[in-house]
Each structure stands twice: as structure tokens, then as C-alpha cells.
Symmetry: C2
Subunit: 322 residues, 2 copies
């Protein structure tokens, strides 16, 4: 068993609690940047060279560590580069057994059918029926030591999943029941509570899970489509990128953005601004290409005619505001 | 692929929609009585004799058809009789691929880790990590033609799962979030709505799913423990048996029973009474033995000291009231 552990835990007590046996190995993964297809390929190649194959991959960490675990598992059995599988239902073979153990709540990566990867030409996941973990371990104690800002940004990833799912055209009763529950739990944690306690860790972990389940059978929307462009070009991390975008989406999600701003204020968080101030024409175009390539997200958010609504001009104006 | 289809659908349009290919076969299963271990063994033997093994088992129907599908799948690979596996974690090998397609909402059998079987000495499921379906298809349209009474009884199975899970000592945040959601959906359907519509079918299907998920990681309680005795001795079907018992559980679930009675009245249902009136001493003892054998259920409901609370005398008095 190969444990891909977020480098945040190197030298920390959690790492020494991993019960290694026989040829088991811990690899601390660098998640300073969001996972790249080149990094996935490198890890898979390294494991294949050393072991031929492995019994399983266990990802321990935030969304990046879990997405790496899912992607490396798939690349142990699928030929070529992970970049070949960025898209929907391109993966043809199950990976090796894979387990996710989240140490940060909100991304929903523990249950999603994607892995968010930055490739040579796009930021897009390996979306497939083979992508979800075979097993997950949900232990809210593991999220106790998360930095406050990071916890908020990642928690907001969940909140945004819910708004995008519940307000989307792909909505169905399955996604709705999960989205409503996740939203209720996010509100308990970020709106109702005045101090962080163990119950917050419990509830945010279930919110993340339910939010992830909600989008598994519907889709995310405008915040994600726009923030993927930021991550691709500027390396903006997913949680904070979503917050930067959500801050300016009153037009699309009026009630959600109002509540989002309330939570930002209540939790004393400062959302970065002006991150696109000095970008070139070419850079804006690269971001827009990545963003507009996320067709299912736009269609979920704006309907079948999304392309006539979200024109390049309109998207450009939105990026300039960030 | 072998389709185990509830005999209710013999000659009905649903049966002709099953897309048989090659050696695929439909077997209409008799669910007049709840599944017996002898019936499971017979079906598995018949398939092994005819095909050696099969690619998969697809159960289409209510809780009984789904439980049969799960049990037959397991008995295609595990030696001996299904009665050998009635209990917790006795199943050692994964079954063949199995799929559940519910046509009745409420039992949670589509997601549970058990199959409720009547065996030579007990009514108890094959509870194991290998029991849940590999795949489920949730299509609320399939529940449209369910008889009104049956729909109510099975819906109440879900309601009772929620009360037993949420009021139980095994409760945790995972089970809580599912139980709360399922309860909310049951209330929408059976309390708030005045007429049955498509949305009721949608919501009750998700309620069933969420209620099943809730008890998967907690446990049911008094109503189930007592009603298992009825089913074992009298063949009382699970949904109606739970209702007969729940009607007399004010002492254990005061708020839940009050609401249950309101739903019974609002939906014009008559709950049978006096079903134990003419039982012999021996028969009462047999029911009590089955019921008191459900240790995890009692422990969840009443705590570690359950045996000092639910004495044989007390249980006997409860059975006499039914």
C-alpha cells in the first residue's frame, strides 16, 4: 500500500500514525501547487518502476492529496499520460484499489467522480465512473489542526458547490437532497456558530461529503468555471479561487452571494482582490479559453443557450473585476 | 445477467422492458412471504446447476426482491447455506456483481448492508461489507403503481428507521445527517402534502435511500426488534409489522409515535390490531427469543444495560398489546 500524504504532515504526529507493513511506503506529496498531470505521471511511473504494480493507493490530505491519489491509482493501470484522460468518461480501466482520508473538509474530493488536474492545455479532471475512491475514512479529528483561513476557503468550496448545484439546470431530487443538507450544515458552522468546536469539525466533514455527492450527479457552475481559469493561469488554489470569483457573482447567485459575503465578514476573512490587474491580453485569452471550455458547468449554470449569455466580452469584464 | 423480478410484475409492462441479451434470464420471485434462507439456497443452487456461475444478479422490486438479489449473489460464491451467514460479518467472500432497482420506496434495502432472511432458527440478515449492491438504479417512476397501503407501510419503514437511528445511542454525525434529511422528506410526503404527486415519488425514493444510509452506520431499534419476532412467527410483512409495533411505542419514542399516529390518520390507514390475541405460551416465547436475539438493535435503542430494561415480562406485555 502506498500512502500519498500531504507534505503539510511531514514530521507531524499524523505521519507517524500511518501503520506501515511489509513493502508499504509513505510518499509525501508536494501540494504547494494544485496537482499537475506531469506530477501524476511521474508518481505513477516511479511506482511502476519500483514495484511493477501496487496493492493500493491511500491519499491522506486535502483535495490535492486526494485527487493525486485517485489519479495515480488510475494511471497504474491506464496507458499513456493522465493528460490523455482530462475530460469526461475517457478513462477505460479501473485503477488499483484507492482510499481517501480527508484532513480538510469542503472539497468533496472524497466522493467526487473527478480529480482536478492542471495539464498542458487545460485544467480539467479525469471525470469517470472509475475515478471515485473504493473506500473513504471520515474522521473529523484529522481536520482539527487545519489553518483557519484554509479551513474557511475549503469550507466555502462546499458552500459554493451547494449553491451551484441547487441553482443549476441539472438539478434532480438526488442532488437536491444532498445539496440542501450540505447547505444546512455549512450554515450551522459558518453562520450560526460563534466559536469553532468539535461539532463544527463533524458537521463540516458531513457537509463536504454531502456537497460532493450533490455535484456528483449534477454539476458545478459559474464560480468553478471562472476559477478554473485563474488556477490554470495563475496557479490560484481552488478554494480561494472560488471565493475570489463568488465575491462578484451577484448577477448569477444573488441570495448565495449575499450569504457568502456575510460569512466572509462574520469569520473575519479577507478575500484577495485585484489579482487580474496586470494581466496581458494573451493571458486574459488563455484564462477565458480554459473557462469557456468547461461546457457542462456553463450549461448547468445558464442553460442550453449559455454561450449566448456568457460571451467573451462578459467573461472578460468579470475577470477584470477579480 | 439474472434478473430477479418481484412476481407482482409478471405480465406487467415493466417485465417486458427488461433488456435481455444472450443467456440473460428473468426469474419472477415469489415474495408473498418474506425471503427465507431455503428459498435463497434453492435459487442459488438452480443458477449454479444451470450456468456454473453468472455475471451478475439484478433485483427489481420491493425490499424482498432486493434482499433476495443480494443474498443469491452472495450464495453464488460463499459455500454452504445462507442460514450459516445470518448474523454480523460472517460472509467471507464477495458475491457476484449485484444491482438493486427498487420499485417501492422506504425499506432502504437498496443501500443497506443486510438482507433480511427468515431462517430455521431466526429472522436475521446476512450483515456484511460484501452485502451492499455494487450498483443501484433509482427511478421514482418505477414506484408509481405501488398500492396505496403498501406504499404507506413501506414509507413508514423509512420513517421508523429515522426515528430509531436519530434516537439511538449509536448515533453519529454521518447517520444523523442522513436521518435528519430522510425524516424531513418523509414529513414532506406524509404530513405536508394533501395529494400524492410525482414529487412525492421522487422525495420518498430519496427518503428511503437516506434512511437506509442512516442506519447503515448506526442501527435500528425497538420497533424493528419487536417486529422481527412477529415476522418470524406469523410471517407478518416487514413494513406492516413495524407499523403494528410502532403504534405502541410511546414509552420509547414519544414524539415519533405521536407523529406516526398523525400520519396514519391523515393518510386514512388502518393499522391491524389484536394479532397476538390467540397465541400460545410457546409461540410468545419463540417471538421473544427472536426479538431478544437482536442485541445490537436493543443496545442502540436502550443503551448497554438494555437487558435490565427490556425484560421478558416487559416484552411479553408489549407483544400482548399488538
Amino acid at each position: 500500500m502506498i500512502f500519498l500524504v500531504d507534505h503539510f504532515f511531514e514530521g507531524k504526529p499524523l505521519a507517524s500514525r500511518v501503520p506501515l507493513r511489509n513493502n508499504d511506503e509513505i510518499i509525501f506529496v508536494d501540494v504547494t501547487l494544485e496537482p499537475k498531470t506531469t506530477y501524476v505521471d511521474k508518481l505513477a511511473t516511479q511506482l511502476k518502476e519500483k514495484f511493477g504494480t501496487v496493492s493500493g493507493i491511500i491519499g491522506i490530505g486535502g483535495g490535492s492529496a486526494m485527487d493525486l491519489a485517485k489519479a495515480v491509482s488510475l494511471m497504474m493501470t491506464n496507458p499513456g499520460s493522465s493528460a490523455d484522460y482530462q475530460g469526461w468518461d475517457l478513462v477505460k480501466l479501473p485503477g488499483v484499489y484507492k482510499v481517501g482520508i480527508p484532513t480538510l473538509s469542503g472539497t468533496g474530493a472524497e466522493v467526487s467522480r473527478t480529480t482536478v488536474l492542471t495539464g498542458p492545455t487545460r485544467k480539467l479532471g479525469m471525470n469517470s465512473d472509475f475515478t471515485p475512491f473504493d473506500q473513504i475514512v471520515l474522521d473529523p479529528e484529522l481536520t482539527k489542526d487545519a489553518p483557519v483561513n484554509q479551513r474557511f476557503y475549503t469550507g466555502m468550496d462546499c458552500y459554493i458547490h451547494c449553491i451551484e448545484s441547487l441553482e443549476g439546470t441539472y438539478l434532480n431530487e438526488f442532488s437536491k437532497s444532498y445539496g440542501e443538507k450540505a447547505l444546512e450544515l455549512c450554515r450551522k458552522v459558518f453562520v450560526d456558530k460563534n466559536n469553532w468546536d468539535d461539532e463544527c469539525d463533524d458537521q463540516l466533514m458531513m457537509a463536504s461529503y454531502a456537497g460532493g455527492m450533490s455535484i456528483a450527479y449534477s454539476q458545478v457552475g459559474v464560480a468553478h468555471a471562472v476559477s478554473y481559469g485563474l488556477s490554470y493561469l495563475l496557479g490560484t488554489k481552488h478554494g480561494i479561487g472560488n471565493c475570489i470569483v463568488m465575491n462578484h457573482l451577484e448577477e448569477y447567485y444573488p441570495a448565495g452571494v449575499k450569504e457568502f459575503k456575510y460569512m466572509v465578514e462574520k469569520n473575519n476573512i479577507e478575500i484577495p482582490a485585484g489579482i487580474c490587474n496586470s494581466l496581458s491580453e494573451e493571458q486574459f485569452n488563455a484564462m477565458m479559453d480554459v473557462s469557456l471550455g468547461m461546457k457542462p458547468l456553463w450549461e448547468n449554470a445558464l442553460g442550453k443557450d449559455w454561450a449566448t449569455i456568457m460571451t467573451r466580452k462578459k467573461l472578460r469584464a468579470l475577470y477584470e473585476k477579480l
